[in-house]
Every structure is written in structure tokens, then in C-alpha cells.
């Protein structure tokens, strides 16, 4: 693709399922970082909760010897994203840095992209978002507060990426691997999640994505996602995880 050659970044993420304990730290960090409205109980009841990253739990095996398997799912920032071309107003498109971005200002809320997304990581604002008085000052100034009627989704914390690249530019040195990390990656206690630049040959993510355990979700749809998962080291579960998620 033309535009991709111009940039020296292609961001990506790798998640080691083997290290994931399902502690939900990433979920909380994401909610705090990105001004996501509080998911109250009613929100979840009418299936309108917004969680840019979620931890799915799968029970494997029969009681008593059951194993829980956790898999954090966020926007895969696919290169062939089914959500992008269907948007009539270019609100969702692919940046030169390989990110799948959602331009809130353009979005008119047709929700077509959400139908196109096979991972269900795009969310619609049904109501005007509200925060309790105590949290008013907690909002992140770098992130837009999305009004009602538009789609939103994981941005790989684009505000942090911008900050990192700008800083590197200012004290003119290269962006080192690990300089930039989204909130979820930063918050992960077991360092199961790794974020980095795929065009940097010796970045950690490149090693992980070329690992023999690595796989991507729903690869038969050929979305060319930029989030890789490293299968759990567990003989009787490898077979499952190969088939994308289950």
C-alpha cells in the first residue's frame, strides 16, 4: 500500500495468553485512560456497555479438572479491516502507521462498521456520556469525550503514540522499543501484552509475532490483524486456540 511505505512505523501488539491471568487490569486502565463512561449495571443489562478491551474467559475441560483460559480482546487494527470501507464518510480509515482510526468528528453513526467487525470491538454511544461529580476532574485532557450517536473503539492509545513520537522528534533521537506503551500494556502486571513497531526489525513484538506459538484470531476472514496471540502452553488446549478464540 502506498501510504504505508511513507511512514517508518507500523504499530502492532502481541499478547501472550500463557501469561494472562485475567486480572482485568488492562480493562480498568483503558477505561481510565480513554474517558470511557462508567459501565453501570443497567448498561450491561441492555448490552450497551462500552469496553474497548475486554477479557474473555473460557472454561476448558469438565469439573473437577477445569481450566480457565483468558483472552483479552481489543481492536485488531486489521490491514484488511472489514469495518473501514463500508463507512460512507471516511470516519474509519487506515493511517500510514498501520492504525485503524475512528474520526469521531466525521462519524454520523450509521453503525455499519460495527456490523462489519467480526471481533465486536466497536461500540456505539446510545446516550450522552455522564460521569459522577467526583470523577469530573479525572477525565484525560488528551482524549476527546465522545458525544452520543457516534462509534468509538480502541485507538491503541494514539495520544500516547503521538506524545512518544513527538518527544523523540523534539530531542531528535529514534523511538526506542518500549518507549511507547498503551495504557493496557503499561498496566499489565505479568507483561503479557507487548506493544511495538513492526518495522523495527529487532523489536520485541517482531520476535513474539514470529514465535511458533503465535496466531491471529479468525484468520480465515483474512483481516490481516495487527494483534498477535501466543497460544497457552498446554497440550490439550493448543488445538482449540488454533481455531481462533475458542
Amino acid at each position: 500500500m502506498v501510504a504505508e511505505k511513507q511512514s517508518k512505523f507500523k504499530w502492532g501488539m502481541a499478547i501472550d495468553i500463557d501469561k494472562c491471568t485475567g486480572c482485568q487490569a488492562c480493562v480498568l486502565a483503558c477505561q481510565a485512560e480513554n474517558n470511557i463512561p462508567i459501565n453501570t449495571e443497567d448498561n450491561f443489562k441492555d448490552a450497551r456497555g462500552i469496553e474497548w478491551i475486554r477479557v474473555e474467559r473460557y472454561w476448558e475441560g469438565e469439573f473437577p479438572d477445569v481450566k480457565a483460559k483468558f483472552i483479552p480482546i481489543l481492536c485488531m487494527h486489521c490491514d484488511n479491516a472489514p469495518c473501514e470501507p463500508v463507512c460512507p464518510v471516511y470516519a474509519s480509515y487506515h493511517t500510514a502507521e498501520g492504525l485503524n482510526v475512528q474520526v469521531y468528528n466525521r462519524c454520523v453513526g450509521t453503525r455499519y462498521c460495527a456490523n462489519g467487525c467480526p471481533y465486536l470491538v466497536r461500540f456505539f454511544n446510545y446516550w450522552e456520556p455522564e460521569w459522577p461529580e467526583s470523577l469530573q476532574n479525572q477525565l484525560n485532557p488528551d482524549v476527546t469525550v465522545r458525544s452520543r450517536g457516534i462509534m468509538e473503539k480502541c485507538t491503541m492509545c494514539i495520544q500516547r503514540i503521538r506524545r512518544g513520537t513527538r518527544k523523540a522528534k523534539r530531542d531528535n533521537n529514534e523511538v526506542m522499543d518500549g518507549d511507547i506503551s498503551p495504557a493496557c500494556v503499561q498496566a499489565c502486571p505479568t507483561e503479557a501484552m507487548v506493544f511495538g513497531n513492526q518495522k523495527d526489525p529487532n523489536s520485541k513484538i517482531n520476535k513474539m509475532k514470529n514465535d511458533k506459538r503465535s496466531y491471529t484470531l479468525l484468520d480465515h476472514l483474512k483481516t490481516n490483524s495487527n494483534v498477535w496471540y501466543l497460544a497457552k502452553v498446554d497440550e490439550d488446549m493448543d488445538s482449540h486456540s488454533k481455531e481462533g478464540g475458542h
Binding site: 474473555e56 463500508v86 460512507p88 466525521r106 460495527a114 462489519g116 467487525c117 446510545y126 446516550w127 450517536g149
Partner: protein
């Protein structure tokens, strides 16, 4: 066997203009009721704009619900017009004549209504209003031509413009008749609209050529419109229930099924309300029912092909989807109702000549067909979304909220309101076609039998 009555032009004028030159006594009460419905509908829409889409029943993963269903439904109904007037004109079917205008009218108004729904279902309709329509000059970035949601307005706009012009061209001679029957301000308005029609051979010849040529041009548009609407769904690989290659012809044939049935419904109403028994005769219903049997059967065949090939892949999401769609409450009930009303009951009736010639039966069966067709779209869209991929993790079914139901009812009130409004000022049955059929049909004696003859030039 059609019982042919000779009608002179005076009588045709008197009978077919009875809705325009004088007002039937049922007119104002009916308009009042419909008007109230329309107002309630618009109020509801404004309320929804004000509060946000939260007032609908939509929830993840069903992001499209009743609004899109109804949008597809009305686009489907709109296929009545060109089906009747174009295809039957090109195949020179004599019985089309009294129906053409009403059918084209239905096309125009149902398209207008259909266009409402993508607007109201959007999260920020006011933005669409000044960003996408007419075109996006506001932010210096034009719409994405790769998006099916951009193909839709183009296709539907083309169809709407085309059928409106078609309607107007065919209306000119009748406007001239009205011009000659009215006085005062009405006369001036009609004279302006009639563009000084005199009815010399040249104008009549062009009128005939125009019919054929415009039909030939509208036919490809007619096919393309619903194909493009179906591609809204079919192009998304993520939704197993939608990603099927048969969708385009399947939607088109379904649209013809529902559209022609809607025309039948309208013909019954015209016969009952304006007493046009000389023009809308049982033989017309008979012919339409025969046509509908073929269309409906083809449509059923497509339905089964689509079903077979969705299961043919034997993918888990597909099977889960079909289980939900056919065997899980409440969808199983809807599915059965859809089969019964969409095909089994109506076609079962139409097989018998007695039913085909019975106006009341035709009325109710045609209404059943449209109930079924609405349910079909609902069954395609909602279950398809609720089981779209392995990652669906919220299993509550979507069910439309009162707001959505009110807006659905509003659309019906709105269409009939517009139709009646039109019927007050313009003739619903093309007078010159009625007169033409008097000239262009005759009878011949073969031995003792009399055979109706059609004159070809």
C-alpha cells in the same frame, strides 16, 4: 373472458375524475385520521432525535434493527411501479393500462418514505442532513465511494428522479383534460402543468415512444436499486447470514413479490373508494394473481437456495444462526408466520380462479404477502446480526421498542396520506390510457365466438 363495455370519452372523464372534480364524503375524515397519525409519527421522530438512539431497542451486537428492516421493506414496495408499468408495457400486456399510474405513484411515495429510515436510524442525523445531502462541501472531504451506504442514496435517488419524471410525462395529457374541466385558479395551475398540451399526432406519438423508451431505461435501474440495497448486507464477510452471493436477485424478486401485491391492495381500495368498476375489472386481478404465482414461486426457490447454501458450508456460526432463526422462540413463530403469509396462504388462494376474481380475497391475501415480506427482511437482518461471529458475547435478543413501532406505523400512515393527497388533485387512473384501450381493442368473430383483438401498429 373479459366483458368489454363501450365507454365514450365523456363518460370516462366523468367517472375517472370523480375524485378530483368533486370530493367524496369519506375523504376528509380519512385524511384527518391519517394526518393525526402522521403528526404523532413526526413527534416521535423528533423525540428520538432529542433523546438519542437509546430510546430504541438496539443493543450490541444488533446494531441495525427495525428501521433498516422497514427501509428495505419500502424500497421493496417501490419496485411495484416499474415492474407493472415498464415490464408489462414492454411485453404489451393490455391489462396493465388502468394500473400503471397508481403503481408508479406508489413507487415515488414509498421511495420518499424509505429514504427517511436511514436518516432516522443514524446516530447524528443532523450531520447527514448537512454533510451527505446534497453533497459534502462542509468539511472538504467527499463521501467514500467505496461504501455501499453511499451507493444506496445514489441508486435510490436515480430511481426516485426517474420514476417521478416518468410519472409526470405520463400525466401531461390528463392534466390537459383537467385543465379543460376546471375554472379559475385551478385552471391556471393545471394549464401551467399541462404545458399547453394540444393533443396533435406528434405529441401523442411522442407520448407512446416515451412510454416505451423510459420503461426500457427504468428497467435496469429497477434491477440495480434493490441489488445495491441487498449489497449493503451481502458485502460484509463478518456476518455469516448476510454474506451470500444470491442476495441481489433474491431481494429483487422478493421486492417484486411485495410490490405487485401492494399494487393489488391499492387496486382493491381504488375500486372500493372511487367505484371505478368499469376500469379495474376482475380480469385485471386475475392477470396480476397469475403473475404473482410465478413471481412468488421463483422467490420461494431463491429462499431455499439461500438456505441450502448457507448450511452447505457447515460452519458453526451459520448453523447457530439458522437454529436461532428457525427453531428458537420467538423466531420460530416469526419464521412460520413468514412462510404462511409470504407464500403458502396467498398462493394457495390464487390457485383458484374464484379467489383470483374475488376482490375481497385478493385484498386480504395481498396484505398477507406484505406482512410476510416485512417479516422476511426482519428475519434476515436481526438474527443474522445476533449470531454473526464466534465472538458474540451478549445473547439477549433484540426487540424493537415502542418508539420504533410507532415510527413503523407512521410510515404507513405517511404513504397513504400522500397517496390520498395526490388523488385529490390528479387522476389515479390514466384517462388517456383508458381511452386508448377503447380505440386499440376490438373484437373479431371466429365462427360464433367473439375473440378480443389488440391493435399493434
Amino acid at each position: 373472458m373479459q366483458q368489454r363495455r363501450q365507454l365514450d370519452e365523456k363518460q370516462i372523464n366523468r367517472e375517472l375524475l370523480n375524485g378530483n372534480l368533486e370530493t367524496p364524503k369519506w375523504y376528509y375524515p380519512v385524511m384527518g385520521v391519517l394526518g393525526v397519525g402522521v403528526l404523532i409519527g413526526f413527534a416521535t421522530i423528533l423525540y428520538m432525535f432529542n433523546r438519542g438512539l437509546g430510546v430504541t431497542g438496539l443493543a450490541r451486537p444488533v446494531y441495525w434493527g427495525l428501521f433498516i428492516t422497514t427501509f428495505v421493506f419500502w424500497v421493496g414496495i417501490s419496485h411495484a411501479g416499474i415492474m407493472i408499468s415498464a415490464i408489462l408495457r414492454l411485453t404489451q400486456a393490455e391489462w396493465r393500462r388502468p394500473v400503471t399510474r397508481a403503481a408508479e405513484l406508489l413507487t415515488v411515495f414509498s421511495l420518499l418514505t424509505a429514504l427517511f429510515f436511514p436518516l432516522v436510524h443514524a446516530g447524528r442525523p443532523w450531520r447527514i442532513a448537512y454533510w451527505l445531502i446534497p453533497y459534502d462541501w462542509a468539511r472538504g472531504i467527499w463521501p467514500n465511494v467505496r461504501s455501499p451506504l453511499f451507493w444506496d442514496p445514489i441508486a435510490i435517488g436515480t430511481y426516485l428522479t426517474g420514476s417521478t419524471l416518468f410519472l409526470f410525462v405520463a400525466l401531461i395529457p390528463d392534466l390537459a383534460i383537467l385543465r379543460d374541466r376546471t375554472t379559475g385558479i385551478k385552471k391556471t395551475i393545471y394549464s401551467m402543468l399541462a404545458l399547453g398540451w394540444r393533443g396533435n399526432p406528434r405529441q401523442w406519438q411522442l407520448q407512446v415512444v416515451a412510454g416505451v423508451l423510459l420503461s426500457a431505461l427504468m428497467l435496469p435501474i429497477f434491477v440495480s436499486v434493490h441489488s445495491i440495497v441487498s449489497w449493503d448486507f451481502a458485502v460484509t464477510p463478518a456476518v455469516e447470514g448476510w454474506h451470500s452471493t444470491i442476495f441481489a436477485p433474491y431481494f429483487v424478486i422478493g421486492a417484486v413479490h411485495s410490490g405487485v401485491s401492494a399494487v393489488v391492495t391499492m387496486m382493491c381500495l381504488m375500486r372500493w373508494l372511487w367505484k371505478w368498476n368499469n376500469y379495474i375489472r376482475p380480469e385485471h386481478f386475475d392477470a396480476l394473481a397469475r403473475l404473482l404465482i410465478i413471481v412468488a414461486t421463483a422467490w420461494l426457490a431463491f429462499t431455499f437456495l439461500e438456505l441450502i447454501f448457507s448450511l452447505y458450508g457447515r460452519d458453526a456460526p451459520e448453523i447457530a444462526l439458522r437454529e436461532l432463526q428457525m427453531f428458537t422462540w420467538p423466531w420460530n413463530l416469526i419464521f412460520i408466520t413468514f412462510l404462511l403469509t409470504g407464500y403458502i396462504i396467498p398462493v394457495g388462494c390464487w390457485l383458484f380462479k374464484r379467489c383470483r376474481n374475488n376482490i375481497a380475497v385478493m385484498f386480504w391475501t395481498s396484505i398477507l404477502v406484505n406482512v410476510g415480506m416485512w417479516l422476511e427482511r426482519f428475519l434476515i437482518i436481526v438474527p443474522g446480526l445476533s449470531r454473526k461471529q464466534v465472538f458474540v458475547y451478549t445473547w439477549e435478543g433484540y426487540w424493537p421498542s415502542p418508539v420504533e413501532w410507532i415510527i413503523l406505523v407512521w410510515s404507513f400512515a405517511w404513504v397513504s396520506f400522500l397517496m390520498l393527497l395526490f388523488a385529490k388533485f390528479f387522476p389515479l387512473v390514466p384517462l388517456f390510457e383508458a381511452k386508448e384501450s377503447q380505440v386499440f381493442t376490438t373484437e373479431m368473430k371466429v365462427g360464433r365466438a367473439t375473440v378480443p383483438m389488440v391493435i399493434r401498429e
